[in-house]
């Protein structure tokens, strides 16, 4: 079977070398969700029109997926010089086309300026945000217009699949992935190869392969960015996995809020079919496999394996008992491999570069890289991909550029609603599956929400418990009632109705919920509470004993005040206050009536003189 495969894949590549040389002039412009929100599609249209106008229509424009540094969108990279332009506006386009594309000159105003050294930096790899990253999985986004399979071919796309089909038995594929030490990127960190081996050996036909693109962690968007920006890497990984376990049918389960991911994946699947990479007799072999997309419908619990199966089967997404394993009885009760989107995207890399290469990156127990979504009160918001074992400090300060507004770091939340808050004293923690677990959090899918001294840890715990209360499917009592009760206690504490003993009560309840819940939603629901109690106990105590919210967040415990020294009496705040709580004569110091004030926060945002403060 191998001869045919080789010929086909080589034919594809021979065609491409002509077109994708190192000197190729092209512009990668980010059309990821973040940059679209900044208006990048308009910038792209303007660019294409201007290229025509200046007779350079042969310059290729790639509308790529997320390039990582979303903070600075819309961004573009201009090849072959690889100039990195940020916050590009439509009005910049004529100059970019004339000077940079036409004559290879950089426009310094659009380049990144180092915030400390003030030096102008030309290329992506010079920027502190990118410098320490190892973008093995995610870095390809900049070379690919996801609607064109040719772009993926040009960066050795589907070479791993060709190699697998031509040279490797399914067992060899599994043993390569095992040797690499690939662990699942969706949360649990379960070794992928062990799961695959189980499904390969399981009795029962057909077998299914599924990519989990539900990405429920609120604040995490790396899976979306892979599905949107490099859909073929996920598909190629799945095909290889299907070959390894002996499956002919796959599903990608995509979160409801991700229409662009669905669109780009659908196009990619079509293109893969058209190129003989999906469907019957893939690359001329006797292996057949195809993929179908299923959209979620807005239920966090559907990221859980058995709930996800139920959802694909068209039912309400309720988990089932833990002792039934997906390996034997998954989708439609058949042997099923479920892996996270990022897990799948790592597979072609392992085949191409080898298990030894992969295993050389990372820590003892966690190999390879991980993409994190670095968000919240951080200067450089975006997606970073780093070797496992990189410290939190490096991620937050070296790449993230520290806290916005020069404020003080307080905590970083990882692992989403199943994870926890990590305090400043642990910033030197090397990030991997096991170390995060040890400090009471977890890797989760890779959300990293940075918080400063204006974030209240009790409020954060309350926030997650409220989230989980709403998302609990209600099937089992410890989770349904327990999480609701914990959420009420936290609400009380935030409202100034906390009582002595609440902390201990929360701890006791946590243990019961973790033990008695059917699925991991309930099982890990106490984590946000336990980790904040563990690391920020004094903040709970301030709420309960002193009726004080040190961060100034919990409405019932704060008051809005005007600093007489700073108030100029401009009267702006009076206009925005819906309850008429602010009074004062023009040009004289104003005051807030705390009886009338609903603590809506409008005035503080409106005051240009920083005169209003929370106490």
């Amino acid at each position: 079977m191998s001869g045919n495969t080789d010929k086909q894949s080589h034919a594809i590549l021979d065609n491409l070398t002509l077109y994708y040389g190192p000197k190729r002039k092209f512009v990668a412009i980010c059309a990821g969700t973040g940059c679209r929100a900044y208006g990048s599609l308009k910038v792209k249209d303007a660019l294409e029109a201007e290229l025509k106008k200046q007779n350079m229509a042969d310059v290729d424009v790639l509308a790529t997926g997320c390039l990582g540094f979303c903070e600075k969108g819309p961004m573009m990279i201009i090849h072959p010089d690889k100039y990195f332009y940020q916050s590009v506006k439509e009005s910049d386009i004529p100059e970019i086309v004339e000077k940079t594309i036409g004559r290879g000159e950089a426009i310094s105003r659009l380049l990144y300026r180092h915030p400390e050294t003030k030096k102008t930096l030309f290329r992506e790899e010079d920027l502190p945000f990118y410098k320490k990253q190892l973008r093995a999985v995610f870095g390809k986004n900049g070379m690919i217009d996801p609607s064109r399979i040719e772009d993926y071919f040009a960066i050795d796309g589907y070479q791993a699949l060709a190699k697998v089909l031509a040279e490797m038995t399914p067992e060899q594929v599994i043993s390569e992935v095992k040797k690499a030490g690939l662990r699942g990127r969706g949360g649990g960190g379960f070794p992928a190869a062990v799961k695959w081996e189980g499904v390969r050996k399981a009795a029962g036909e057909p077998k299914y392969v599924i990519a989990n693109g539900d990405e429920g962690d609120p604040g995490a968007y790396m899976d979306r960015s892979l599905m949107e920006g490099n859909p073929h890497s996920v598909i190629e990984g799945m095909i290889i996995g299907a070959y390894a376990v002996g499956s002919n049918h796959g599903y990608i389960y995509v979160r409801n809020e991700y229409p662009l991911a669905v669109e780009n994946l659908s196009k990619a699947i079509e293109a893969a079919r058209a190129n003989g990479l999906l469907g019957k007799n893939i690359l001329g072999t006797d292996f057949s496999f195809d993929i179908q997309i299923n959209k979620g419908a807005g239920a966090f619990v559907c990221g859980e394996s058995s709930a996800l199966f139920a959802s694909i089967e068209g039912r309400a997404g309720e988990p089932r008992a833990k002792y039934v394993h997906a390996v034997d009885k998954g989708l439609y009760d058949k042997p099923t491999v479920l892996n996270n989107v990022e897990t799948w995207a790592n597979v072609p890399l392992i085949i191409n570069k080898g298990a030894d290469w992969f295993a050389s990156i990372g820590t003892e127990g966690s190999k390879g890289t991980k993409i994190f979504s670095l968000v919240g009160k951080i200067n450089n918001t975006g997606l970073v991909e780093v070797p496992m074992g990189t410290t939190l400090y490096e991620i937050i300060y070296d790449m993230g550029g520290g806290i916005t507004g020069g404020r003080k770091f307080k905590a970083v939340q990882t692992g989403g609603p199943s994870g926890g808050c990590i305090p400043e004293s642990l910033l030197d923690l090397p990030v991997d599956f096991d170390r995060l677990y040890e400090v009471g959090s977890m890797m989760g899918s890779g959300g990293m929400i940075v918080m400063d001294d204006t974030s209240c840890m009790v409020d954060v715990a309350r926030y997650f418990l409220e989230f989980l209360k709403e998302e609990s499917c209600g099937k089992c009592v410890p989770c349904r009632e327990g999480v609701r009760r914990m959420s009420e206690i936290l609400e009380d504490i935030c409202a100034g109705r906390g009582r002595e003993g609440d902390i201990e009560l929360l701890e006791t309840m946590s243990a019961a919920i973790a033990d008695g819940s059917l699925c991991a939603l309930g099982g890990s629901a106490p984590n946000p509470v336990l980790s904040t109690i563990r690391h920020f106990r004094e903040e709970y105590e301030a709420h309960i004993r002193d009726h004080r919210c040190p961060a100034g967040v919990c409405k019932a415990l704060i008051s809005y005040n005007i600093d007489a020294e700073k108030c100029t009496g401009c009267g702006v705040c009076v206009k925005v206050c819906a309850t008429k709580a602010i009074t004062g004569e023009l040009k004289k110091v104003h005051t807030i009536d705390n009886e009338k004030c609903t603590r809506c926060g409008a005035c503080i945002q409106s005051c240009k003189f920083d005169a209003i403060y929370v106490k």
Binding site: E71, G416, A602
Partner: protein, 161 residues
């Protein structure tokens, strides 16, 4: 414009597109929601019959998933991102403002049918947080005064018609 077709006919079309398969319940509901902006009872009944699944199964799915609405939604759907990144950047304050100005809670629709308020958990534009999505348009770094402007603008556009 093509001739308007009845809810039942449109529903049958959608069911057919999904090959009348029982597993397609959710996909069918998604398409129905897209076609009608909510799930009209007539559509659900027609779908149950056409797919040969009990009405209870359809209802179970329609009520379990938050993406589905059994009530008609407003002309402009305001979605406030309540993902963690937006939460720590003050999304709750914005939600307050929308709630008090529009006089509705998430899940509600104003009496004039102009606005529906919803919350979502992360729309993937965390760098722009706090984010509010109005219909399909993203608004980033939203402040209270931006909220006021957005509402005013829509009210004005609608009133001017």
């Amino acid at each position: 414009m093509t001739k308007p077709i009845s809810i039942a006919a449109k529903t049958r079309q959608i069911v057919k597109k999904h090959g009348n398969a029982k597993g397609a319940v959710i996909a069918v509901l998604q398409d129905l929601q897209e076609a009608f902006n909510y799930l009209p009872k007539e559509a659900l009944k027609t779908a149950a019959k056409a797919m040969d699944v009990p009405m209870s199964r359809i209802y179970e799915a329609a009520t379990f998933y938050t993406a589905f609405s059994l009530e008609p939604r407003g002309k402009h759907v305001v979605k406030i991102c309540k993902g963690t990144a937006c939460h720590v950047r003050g999304a709750a304050i914005l939600q307050d403002r929308f709630e008090t100005t529009l006089g509705i809670k998430p899940g509600g629709t104003t009496k004039d049918g102009l606005f529906s308020l919803e919350t979502v958990n992360c729309v993937g534009a965390c760098a722009l947080g706090p984010v509010v999505v109005i219909n399909t348009e993203y608004h980033g770094q939203v402040t209270i005064s931006k909220v006021d402007k957005i509402i005013k603008k829509i009210n004005k556009e609608e009133g001017a018609q």
